[in-house]
Symmetry: C2
Subunit: 157 residues, 2 copies
């Protein structure tokens, strides 16, 4: 019985160390291992593809993803409680804020949307657009979805 | 005097609001407006170009940059107090950890290096490699630089 207990303790200790080692190793998440998703029609207008790269974690509390908007596609109006950083990687897009500003965005442009600013982003009516989105997390939440961007609002540029 | 005071208060209030409005607007940092830098030879071996995209800020405490390594170029050994996320965007590269593992990395691969793990990353000996680096900040610091990766360590793959 004593020997069994010793084995059990040794096993527990080795499992704990294995767990610690695994979580503290550098990890590679290979290309092709993160399935693309079609973005929801209750949050996006038109055809939008979402490619997750990193989830928000306790150690790195921001998600990273590629998002591709077909021509005419865009997000609904929304805000981010901890802000959002975008980097355009291809195509041409638009981003608008509730104050009425709409800006054309091109590859290499970087956009900072501060916390709680109502905005939208998407493709132009004729070009697709892909951006990286790096979105902070606050109290377990990274976005508050609002109403659709109307055609009139989208075409106001 | 009373009127002057009223003016002064009104001016102060309008400045405060102007300041608030400016800092709380969505901002676009255009492509071409963030000069590339040659990485320091006391932290990198070979030719490495650093293209900053976003600095770490109070609201978004992680920097974002593109880094391009010419063939054979790599970082010195280093650790990150708040971890680092990499996304390979072109070429082919290598990343190694102090436990002796070296992994080949290709476009679309995503790498998570947890806090305080001693690692290096760079190009292969024949291909250049560009990655995005998203690096967390802790207590005002995002990296601790260590010794160079020797040719023997680099060629151990």
């Amino acid at each position: 019985m004593k020997q069994l207990t010793v084995y059990a303790v040794a096993l527990s200790v080795s499992l704990i160390f294995a767990g610690t080692a695994a979580s503290a190793e550098q990890t590679v998440i290979p290309n092709g291992s993160r399935p693309s998703k079609t973005a929801s029609s209750s949050q996006f207008t038109g055809n939008v593809r979402h490619e997750p790269v990193f989830p928000a974690t306790e150690e790195a509390p921001f998600s990273v993803s590629y998002v591709t908007f077909e021509p005419g596609a865009r997000t609904f109006w929304h805000t981010h409680p901890a802000g959002q950083r975008l980097i355009v990687v291809s195509g041409q897009g638009l981003t608008g804020t509730w104050d009425g500003k709409i800006v054309t965005i091109n590859p290499g442009d970087a956009i900072w949307c501060p916390p709680d600013i109502k905005h939208w982003h998407g493709a132009t009516s004729t070009s697709a657009m892909t951006h990286i989105a790096i979105t902070g997390m606050k109290d377990g939440k990274n976005v508050t979805w609002l109403e659709a961007v109307t055609d009139e609002q989208y075409q106001a540029k």
